[in-house]
């Protein structure tokens, strides 16, 4: 385990990291209960729900019914406003729990009342207490309806502005990971499992001594005050060709949008856990492949050995991309430079209570706006000019902006392995990638 304060003498006795975990709402509580059953080690855990049913959940975690005065333990009825108020009622107790923690995980399923409403509040308390706050959340399935989708988006945005980083698992993407005949129950369990994996991935990264350590300070420097939205994927491969396979599986993972997330990411945290037969060459090979996929972001690598994983490689990735609306206002560099001499006072970063623009942050893209032919012409010209300036020589990375609007056929290379060079698929005609318009 690593020490969060580098200026301490190395010979001083190591202070263990205090990691706490808070499950909010139904999904969050179940996930935390699941985590405690698995091999996460001793974590101090708390589960919160507005519904008193959690009291019947069999787990070692502390339980707290939120807003029993308002709701009489009957839940929020899907209203985040009640969830928020319920959490604020219990401010004292929550702040008490968050005290003295170095790292707090907040686990919730967004979309309902408690998850969307209370989680941001809890995150704020955690952040105020000086802990690095990571939220691991799921977004609802499409079939759960518009209202939940909208609430989850609002919740996500609030959470992003209060927590240091949000790791986001859109449930809808799980469909592609699961068999069609999976029972509903198993689907939700699977989603909870993924949250567990996310927490476990980070936990193991910090906890295991390995070939290459990622310590707490490192994690903090990547996530603190960045208010990023992160994607998470964890894959495992065993046997002969595991090195290649593990990367292939990772890139194929629907959670990473077939690797597109990697290209856009600004920071990628890689946790690689293998058996005692993991060689540096394996690590090198994997990182080499990942490096090629990641265009601009920085890669941070942690490697650890788990003797139980002999012949297996487990690769966990957390890729963050900055949220434009929030991170612009936030002097991310300020906190980054201060992490070196981290006192509690450095945490007094500005906090945004209510983000003003909510709807523009939606992850769902509407149809392209109607344009007149003149307007189109103008836009194309602009694009052309841009493409002309940003030629390769200047080292400016070309973005495939046009790709989203229209599907580019790769013709005869459709079925062959794509030729990826610095994150660009060079099978796609050059003139399209450079944004040059004919006619």
């Amino acid at each position: 385990m690593q020490e969060p304060t580098p200026q301490n003498d190395h010979s001083a006795p190591l202070q263990p990291l205090t990691v706490k975990i808070i499950g909010v709402g139904g999904a969050g509580s179940n996930a935390v209960a699941g985590m405690l059953r698995s091999d996460l080690g001793v974590l101090s855990a708390l589960i919160l729900h507005t519904n008193s049913r959690i009291l019947t959940l069999e787990t070692n975690a502390q339980k707290l019914v939120l807003g029993s005065r308002r709701t009489h333990g009957m839940g929020t009825g899907g209203d985040p406003e009640i969830g928020r108020a319920a959490a604020e009622d219990q401010e004292e107790m929550l702040r008490q729990f968050c005290k003295d923690a170095d790292l707090i995980f907040i686990v919730a399923g967004l979309g309902g009342g408690t998850g969307s409403g209370s989680a941001p509040v809890v995150a704020r308390f955690a952040k105020d207490a000086g802990a690095l706050t990571l939220a691991v959340v799921t977004l609802p399935f499409d079939f759960e309806g518009n209202r939940r989708a909208q609430q989850s988006q609002v919740g996500l945005l609030k959470l992003k502005s209060s927590a240091d980083a949000v790791i986001c698992l859109p449930n809808q993407k799980l469909f592609r990971l699961l068999d069609e005949n999976t029972p509903v129950n198993d689907t939700f369990n699977f989603s909870n499992d993924l949250m567990t994996q996310g927490v476990r991935g980070i936990w193991q990264m910090l906890n295991r001594t390995g070939l290459i350590n990622v310590d707490f300070a490192h994690l903090r420097s990547v996530v603190q005050d960045r208010h990023t939205e992160s994607m998470f994927a964890s894959v495992e491969a065993r046997g002969e060709g595991r090195v290649r396979e593990v990367v292939e599986r990772l890139v194929a993972s629907p959670l990473l949008d077939e690797g597109r997330v990697l290209e856009e990411a600004s920071d990628v945290l890689v946790s690689l856990i293998g058996g005692s037969d993991l060689t540096l060459a394996d690590v090198n090979k994997i990182m080499d492949q990942l490096n090629r996929r990641v265009c601009e972001g920085q890669l941070i690598l942690g490697t650890a050995i788990d003797p139980a994983l002999h012949g297996t490689i487990r690769l966990t990735i957390i890729a963050s991309r900055p949220t434009p609306g929030i991170s612009h206002n936030q002097p991310a560099n300020h906190s980054r430079s201060s992490t070196m001499e981290m006192g509690k006072s450095d945490f007094e970063a500005p906090f945004f209570d209510e983000p003003t623009v909510l709807l523009s942050q939606s992850r769902f893209k509407g149809p392209p706006p109607e344009t007149t032919p003149e307007n189109t012409e103008f836009l194309f010209q602009q694009q052309n000019a841009r493409g002309g300036h940003a030629r390769k020589k200047s080292g400016v990375k070309m973005k495939q902006e046009l790709l989203n609007l229209e599907i580019i056929s790769k013709g005869r290379f459709e079925k062959s392995e794509p030729t990826i060079h610095h994150g660009e698929d060079i099978d796609v005609p050059t003139y399209i990638r450079r944004g040059i318009v004919l006619n």
Binding site: V243, K392, R412, E417, D427, P429, T430, I436, L438
Partner: protein, 408 residues
């Protein structure tokens, strides 16, 4: 080795065509090209076999043609391999000189080479070539043979070319399926450079770019040694594909347009020129803007050169190249490609000519044959080496045994 005039055959399985070149070492020891055979390649994409049975047929066809032309029977070939999985890198080995008098012995040289060869590659990868570059004695660079010199530490630089084992095995398997033996497997970028460059050009520093249909291979020489090799899985097929997409014509027509009207540069005077495409009955079907056609090609070719230039620039090699860039492969036929390459590399650019090999003029002049001719050249080095070792029963025996094992 039991034949009086050894026949050396180079087989290059390309993306658009498969060619076999037959060479013969004359009594005077010079290499003579006596036959070529070629066949359209149908089962290869980006330099890699995707349909082994069709590839087998095509190889048989090419070999048959070469046999007929050279009037000989082909039993074994030198096989050229390519594909996006192949990588080249430099490695350095180091060895302290142990002896009292600090004189570097043959054993020290063997040890240092052994050290340099100890490379940690992923298990699924296989080393294709290990090429000795030069030695360093106590940090002094550029030593060709350190035996007899005095020093405390000797180092050696080597260039390693490696690729994915399974993907390398696929073409080997296809060739073996035809009852042909494989003498050796050679990276085709390396083979092309052997065909094109003479010693002077290697000494002065040259870049060889073999731009085929599916892949573009390049090799950089300076001071007489290989500095860098690499491959990009992009080639003439991409040009056709870009044209098919951009001009909205079928792939076959795009290929034809590329050959008939293609150019690597967009000249200002063609602005506004159009081409009228006719169908089988001679009726006009579609009009195509010539400027668009050339712009699409020019951008793609420019990008390929840029990718190579960037890579070489990063390895800090462009300054060592004084002789220039030599283009070969099918794409070297594109008009104005020299000018385009010159704009990118700022070096003299020429179309590579196979030098110091005599024989069929028709084969030697065609850029498509460079890799296959290079394979023959590679084979001739190996054969000469073997012929020189011939005296002495023991060495013959070990050679034979070695061969048996290599071929199995």
């Amino acid at each position: 080795m039991f034949e009086t005039t050894p026949i050396i055959v180079g087989l290059d399985i390309g993306t658009s065509k498969i060619c076999a070149v037959v060479g013969e070492i004359s009594d005077s020891g010079s290499l003579n090209i006596v036959g070529v055979g070629q066949s359209k390649s149908r089962g290869v994409r980006k330099g890699e076999v995707v349909d082994a049975s069709i590839v087998g047929e095509d190889i048989r066809h090419a070999i048959g043609e070469a046999e007929q032309m050279a009037d000989t029977e082909i039993r074994s070939v030198y096989l050229g391999v390519t594909g996006g999985h192949i990588r080249g890198f430099n490695n350095r080995g180091f060895h302290p000189v142990a002896s009292q008098d600090r004189e570097i012995t043959e054993d020290d040289v063997q040890d240092v080479i052994k050290n340099a060869r100890a490379i940690n590659l992923p298990t699924e990868n296989k080393v294709l070539h290990i090429i000795r570059q030069h030695f360093l004695v106590d940090g002094q660079d550029g030593i060709v043979n350190p035996v007899g010199m005095l020093g405390t530490r000797v180092e050696v630089d080597i260039h390693v070319v490696h690729g994915n084992f399974n993907r390398l095995q696929t073409p080997i398997h296809a060739v073996k399926g035809l009852q042909l033996e494989i003498e050796d497997v050679v990276f085709s970028g390396l083979a092309s450079s052997l065909a094109l460059l003479n010693n002077h050009q290697k000494e002065m520093g040259s870049i060889v770019i073999d731009m085929g249909a599916g892949t573009t291979e390049y090799a950089v020489y300076s001071n007489g040694i290989i500095k860098h090799t690499g491959i990009i899985a992009v080639g003439g097929d991409h040009l056709s594909n870009d044209l098919a997409y951009g001009l909205k014509v079928p792939l076959g027509r795009a290929e034809q347009l590329k050959i008939e009207h293609g150019s690597a540069l967009v000249e200002p005077e063609i602005r506004g020129h159009t081409l009228t495409l006719t169908n089988d009955h001679g009726i006009a079907e579609k009009t195509i803007n010539l400027e668009h056609l050339r712009r699409i090609m020019s951008l793609r070719l420019d990008e390929i050169f840029q990718l190579i230039a960037n890579e070489l620039d990063q390895a800090d090699l462009l300054n060592d190249v004084r002789e220039g860039v030599f283009l070969t492969g099918g794409c070297a036929r594109i008009p104005n490609i020299q000018k385009l390459a010159n704009q990118v590399f700022h070096l003299p650019v020429s179309i590579g000519k196979t030098n110091s090999i005599s024989g069929l003029k028709s084969a030697l002049d065609q850029p498509e044959f460079a890799a296959a001719i290079g394979l023959v050249r590679f084979g001739s080095f190996e054969t000469r080496k073997r012929l020189q070792e011939k005296p002495g029963f023991q060495s013959t025996l070990t050679q034979t045994i070695k061969q048996i094992f290599r071929r199995s």
